[in-house]
């Protein structure tokens, strides 16, 4: 049985009780520990900066040329916090409640409560760092309401909130680099975790410019390496986002939790052609003022301006009068799919729905609309060549975020002692569906305020122990395997590019493990993925050598890991005989097409064991709900 190490007492005292009882490492002793942080996004950079301030020796790794380029930078809409500045009824309990409910009762109450508590401190921290959050004329911080919330608790920096929060964390980390307390390795990709006597003792990396494989010992390893949406090929993630660090840890013994919990974002720009390399997200803050509609009649190809009000179906407002256009992401996404599948899709490929600012432009005026959404609307125009101030935008759901990830306990430690997972790389806080503006909150909570406390509890008993040297057999053997794997891709000498395999994998997953899943489809997907993986091992073609910058070679390793992960996602989706959040099984829906959970049988975290590559083995962490009573979610 998995022990999540949830503290005792009333839920609002869990974190305090825990902090009061776990071990500390004294300031003088912290510098005797070397901490490895992989990834420099919100979670990684905030953890590296904070741990270095505390006195730990931190080594941070990113495959980018600068830590500032992590994909956290692309988050647009905002960050939630229970500040209740607008005096509209928000509280820590309400943020906690909304997050558990939004996650469709598949998250761990205790973690979520802590997240809501820490949200308040994050805003203080970021403001002190100079994050230019939006402000009112009186000089105080502004808030807005964000997808699925009935209070205004979202802080934002225009449509670039992720950028500004990341730059805050990046700058805090660079300050430590300047002081010599963080050793930063750029253009360095982690390719394996080193485990000795059951504990994480370091990592093996490849220098992406020189190709050098190297060992890096540490007393603890923190993975803050993001999510795995790119397994779908077309997603809103950056092109380099991948699962490799987490997957390599999984193969070394870390359980992987809820891989089938993936989030489709409702407001992205629809694909325009077969060469599409990624999908661009339009912040769902647009749903605050934009109205979503399709033509009433299927196959209506008239331009939007020619379709009068009676011929328009504002289907979210019609189906969900209470929440309207602001229903949670999973609900909004599926509703769009229903309309497009009915033949009501709009645009040249009939693959989108309208998001219309006409009413907002009349109500607020173009100035206010531009102030709120200007950069998003400009981006839309640049990509599509259409002017959203004059004609409705076209949007469609796309893969965006993954709630699943490495299983962690309350301390954020995986099932490998000394190995931690932070931010999107772990599974812990969002259940089966994440609410808008909560990813930034979780990444920063983990990095700034959770790991600095919980890490000491693991390290304290190991005080005085040296690092496992880089020439230890555990490192030598890992380096050998990493080298063999890397060289192996070059020696296959097949005929197909790594991108080809990635695209094919994406098609299979989107079809069978995307917005809707069925048992038959998932079985088919597993068999398709198995044969695709066989083809990959036999027919991949990567040119060049391993001793220079070789972008195809980098990608080969990432796609190899995606192929393995994709299979596990389907296995997980097949075993979960219910619908919840982002996981929608067509066999399990209510009469009006909403997700139907099965709390009696599936109220648990599914944590999978790699099992040496044989059929994965399921471990369960039962979920109990003492404070939020599970109910059928209703947004009517």
């Amino acid at each position: 049985m998995l022990d999540a190490r949830i503290p005792s007492g009333a839920i609002n005292e869990h974190w305090d009780n825990h902090r009061d009882s776990i071990s500390l490492v004294s300031p003088a002793n912290k510098r005797r520990f070397t901490i490895i942080v992989v990834g420099t996004g919100l979670a990684g950079a905030s953890a590296a900066a904070t741990l270095a301030e505390l006195g730990y020796r931190v080594k941070a790794y990113t495959f980018h040329d600068s830590a500032r380029r992590a994909h956290s930078i692309a988050a647009q809409g905002g960050i939630n916090a229970a500040k209740n500045y607008p005096n509209d009824g928000d509280s820590i309990h309400r943020l906690f409640y909304d997050t558990v409910k939004g996650g469709d009762y598949r998250s761990r109450e205790s973690n979520v409560y802590r997240l809501a508590q820490l949200s308040v401190e994050i805003i203080d921290q970021c403001t002190a760092q100079g994050v230019p959050f939006a402000r009112e004329y009186g000089g105080l911080l502004a808030n807005r309401s964000f997808g699925g919330a009935q209070v205004s608790r979202t802080f934002y920096a225009r449509g670039q909130t992720g950028q500004q929060l990341l730059l805050g964390a990046y700058q805090a980390m660079m300050r430590q680099v300047d002081r010599g307390t963080v050793e930063l390795h750029t253009q360095t990709e982690m390719l394996d975790v080193v485990v000795k006597d059951g504990r994480a003792v370091g990592i093996v990396t490849r220098d992406l410019v020189s190709g050098e494989i190297a060992s890096h010992p540490g007393h603890a390893v923190l993975l803050a390496t993001g999510g795995y949406s790119n397994v779908f090929y077309l997603s809103t993630n950056a092109m380099k986002s991948n699962v490799t660090a987490a997957w390599r840890a999984h193969r070394k013994g870390a359980l992987f939790a809820n891989p089938c919990y993936t989030q489709i974002h409702p407001t992205c720009i629809p694909a325009s052609d077969e060469f599409q390399s990624k999908l661009t997200l339009m912040s769902e803050s647009l749903r605050n003022d934009g109205r979503i509609w399709v033509p009433v009649r299927a196959g209506d190809t008239r331009p939007p301006d020619d379709i009068g009000e009676p011929d328009r179906d504002y289907y979210l407002e019609r189906r969900y009068p209470a929440f309207g256009n602001l229903v949670p992401r999973d609900v909004a996404s599926r509703a769009a799919k229903v309309e497009v599948d009915r033949g009501k899709g709009v645009g040249p490929l009939a693959n989108g729905v309208y998001l219309d600012f006409d009413e907002a432009l009349r109500r607020l005026g173009p100035g206010t609309v531009r102030e709120r959404y200007g950069n998003l609307l400009d981006m839309y125009q640049r990509i599509t060549g259409e002017n959203p101030y004059e004609t409705p935008m076209r949007i469609y759901p796309a893969m965006h975020y993954t709630m699943g990830g490495l299983w962690v306990d309350y301390n954020l430690m995986t099932t490998i002692p000394g190995l931690y997972a932070l931010g999107e790389a772990n599974f812990s806080d969002h259940g089966a569906n994440r609410l808008g503006a909560s990813a930034l909150m979780q990444g920063l909570a983990d990095g700034y305020f959770v790991i600095p406390y919980t890490l000491g509890d693991y390290l304290a008993p190991h005080l005085g122990e040296g690092l496992v040297p880089g020439d230890d057999p555990s490192f030598v053997e890992t380096e050998r395997r990493v080298t063999a794997r890397t060289e192996g891709y070059l020696s296959i000498g097949g005929s197909r590019s790594v991108d080809w395999f990635h695209r094919e994998l994406g098609k299979v997953l989107w079809e069978y493990c995307g917005m809707e899943r069925s048992a038959d489809g998932l079985r088919r997907a597993i068999s398709d993925i198995d044969s695709l993986k066989e083809d990959f091992d036999r027919d991949l073609r990567v040119l060049g050598t391993s001793s220079t910058l070789n972008q195809s070679l980098e990608k080969a390793g990432r796609v190899d890991d995606f192929l393995q992960l994709a299979r596990l996602m389907c296995v997980d989706a097949l075993h979960r005989e219910e619908s919840c959040g982002g996981h929608f099984r067509v066999e399990h829906q209510t009469d009006d097409g909403e997700a139907r959970r099965d709390d009696a049988n599936f109220s648990y975290v599914a944590a999978w064991d790699w099992n040496d590559g044989h059929e994965p083995v399921l471990h369960r962490e039962p979920l109990t709900f003492d404070h939020v009573k599970p109910a059928q979610r209703s947004y009517r």
């Binding site: 692309a74 203080d124 921290q125 000089g139 700058q171 805090a172 930063l184 640049r382 060549g385 060049g544």
Partner: protein, 252 residues
């Protein structure tokens, strides 16, 4: 569209570079510039030739990874647009397009179109932050910031660190990048305690790596985020004030 590409190829930092010419047929106008390069790479691979290395990641104009000199212009012909947001509808059938990496000695070429912009990180390290150790922050609304100030700080903070400003500058100067960060932090009340130290250290670090600014103003139009030259004026003013009045010792 049928295009002819002249692309800078260079096998490594020390290797001799050269232009190679590729025919790019069947290019759709809705493709992004980088998707066009993806397609060219796919065809090169099929022909048994190594793909063109180029930097890119988010492909939505915010990570700052991409950056190409396209027909001699940083990020190409469309204003306020990063290379990844440039679409082929900006070009015409039959065009010849010259594609080069950023041209600046402070950004050494890693391979083909990929350059190393680490010098930017050195400038940030030197003071592009506000020292606010985690946990020590006061309640956020204790310090009101006038909306105009906050907006101006945000305008400057929008910089994505792509390096187009340096590439566009005849001197390879790093003023616009540095000034954007100085302005973002020096405008805010939270940034005041380190204001003078920040500007001195950042400017002096910048000068170690980059050329000198001689007011050509090429940087602003090349900037995909429209960062204003005004920031350079503010940086220069703060630098001079700090030097002349020795504010560092004055304590404010």
């Amino acid at each position: 569209m049928h295009l002819t590409l002249r692309v800078w190829r260079q096998d490594g930092p020390e290797a001799e570079g050269r232009f190679e010419t590729y025919e790019a047929a069947g290019i759709h106008q809705d493709m992004s510039f980088l998707e066009m390069l993806d397609l060219v790479n796919e065809r090169l691979l099929t022909a048994g030739r190594e793909p063109i290395a180029f930097d890119h990641d988010c492909r939505e104009g915010i990570c700052g990874s991409c950056g190409l000199m396209i027909d001699g212009r940083a990020h190409g012909p469309q204003g306020s647009t990063a290379t990844c947001q440039l679409h082929m509808r900006e070009f015409s059938d039959g065009d010849t397009i010259v594609i080069e990496p950023w041209r600046a000695t402070s950004f050494p070429i890693v391979r083909d179109l990929v350059v190393d912009r680490e010098a930017f990180d050195r400038i940030i390290e030197a003071g592009g932050y506000i020292g606010a150790p985690t946990g020590s922050a006061p309640e956020a609304n204790l310090t009101p910031v006038p909306k105009e100030t906050s907006d101006a700080a945000m305008d400057a903070a929008a910089c994505i660190g792509c390096g187009a400003c340096v590439a566009a500058c005849p001197n390879g100067a790093g003023q616009l990048f540095t000034a954007a960060k100085v302005a973002h932090l020096n405008l805010l009340p939270q940034g005041q305690p380190e204001r003078w130290m920040r500007v001195e250290r950042m400017v002096e670090t910048m000068e170690e790596y980059f050329g000198s600014c001689s007011n050509h103003g090429e940087c602003e139009p090349a900037c995909p985020k429209g960062i204003s030259l005004d920031n350079i004026a503010m940086m220069n003013r703060d630098y001079l004030l700090s030097k002349i009045r020795n504010r560092k010792l004055g304590g404010y």
